[in-house]
Symmetry: C2
Subunit: 178 residues, 2 copies
DNA sequence: CCCTCTCTATTCATCTGGTGAATAGTCCAC
DNA sequence: GTGGACTATTCACCAGATGAATAGAGAGGG
């Protein structure tokens, strides 16, 4: 429950209500996908059910009711635990490009597989240029530069793979027996 | 619905029932996470609801009932469309390590952030050694080598990012105002 | 001969999380 | 005084993932 942990982290700095948390998150992690309200409130409900947060007050201040939540001791423990735990990188490989290429080759469409790889390569290059621009913009923060670096490194990893795959499409097709 | 498209792809080679498809998938993509039965059957139901596949026969052959599905014309069209479409790489960045580091720094725990990065780095190195072993094993297929290459490239991208982050932890903390 | 184990095949209950629309109150500008 | 923007939450729905339950048939062992 990673969204849950993020909300827990934001709540550990002081009580907040759902709308606040969504804004907090989106400002703090501008490169991340904005949180949808549905996700925020349902996640808060789950955290509450697990006893990691508690509703503190329902106030009405210049507008509709708002429910402020605070982190509990159990919540602090869970958060500390999560922050200190490393993710074991999976032994499984999820490569969406390989899935498409393999299926195209199984259907005997070697030309289609190659066309896909070339088109995907081009789409990656476009996005990489955008991240490079963002990263080298004057006034970019360390946070922004690191975010762009991460994205660029992974896009480049995809690119390297696609080039290798392009060079071996025919061999792959033969290996698949198609 | 990527699982759906994969099943569609496998079904386009001829009718199959759920259990068959699960085995087909796991054999064809041994590096991927094995499909759970629950996923297979609920995905088939959705594909059926959308008219992309159709149940052809309920047979009983040496065991319990089995429902064979076949792809429809609409299914073939959907599959061809999906195979030819590139994924626009997201403009959003999802970096789980950055999230943890940022939250740790927000809570003022610079030492914890560094410890996490070092531990995660070590975990990555272990997994990378495993993939390197798998890839250089005698008799490894092109498919297996490409799968390992993909995983290695992404793990290395993470590693590069973690090294950069380690060098800038203090700057990052200051930038966050913690 | 019956018992258990394994393999085949499917279903079900339950959970996380993600989307889009609906609801509802307040404030501000025109 | 009405329409729009902002605050705040809820709801209905769907995708996808897990783990357990159900159930038939064949195989092997005591």
């Amino acid at each position: 429950m990673s969204t849950g942990h993020v909300l827990l982290g934001l709540l550990s700095r002081g009580q907040r209500h759902g709308y606040d948390l969504k804004r907090d998150h989106d400002e703090r992690f501008p490169q991340a996908k904005p949180l949808a309200f549905g996700v925020v409130y349902s996640t808060l409900e789950r955290l509450h059910r697990r006893g990691l947060i508690a509703p503190l007050a329902v106030q009405r201040v210049d507008g509709p009711d708002r429910t402020a939540y605070g982190i509990t001791d159990a919540g602090r423990a869970e958060l500390a635990q999560w922050l200190a735990t490393t993710d074991e990188p999976s032994e499984h490989v999820t490569n969406p490009f390989a899935v498409k290429v393999t299926l195209a080759l199984l259907l005997g469409d070697e030309a289609g597989a190659e066309a896909f790889l070339r088109a995907q390569r081009a789409a990656h290059l476009v996005r990489m240029r955008a991240f490079t621009t963002a990263k080298t913009a004057p006034g970019a923060s360390v946070h922004e530069v690191l975010a762009a670096d991460y994205a660029l490194a992974h896009l480049d990893a995809d690119l390297t793979w696609m080039d290798a795959a392009l060079r071996r499409v025919t061999t792959l097709r033969e290996e698949l027996g198609a």
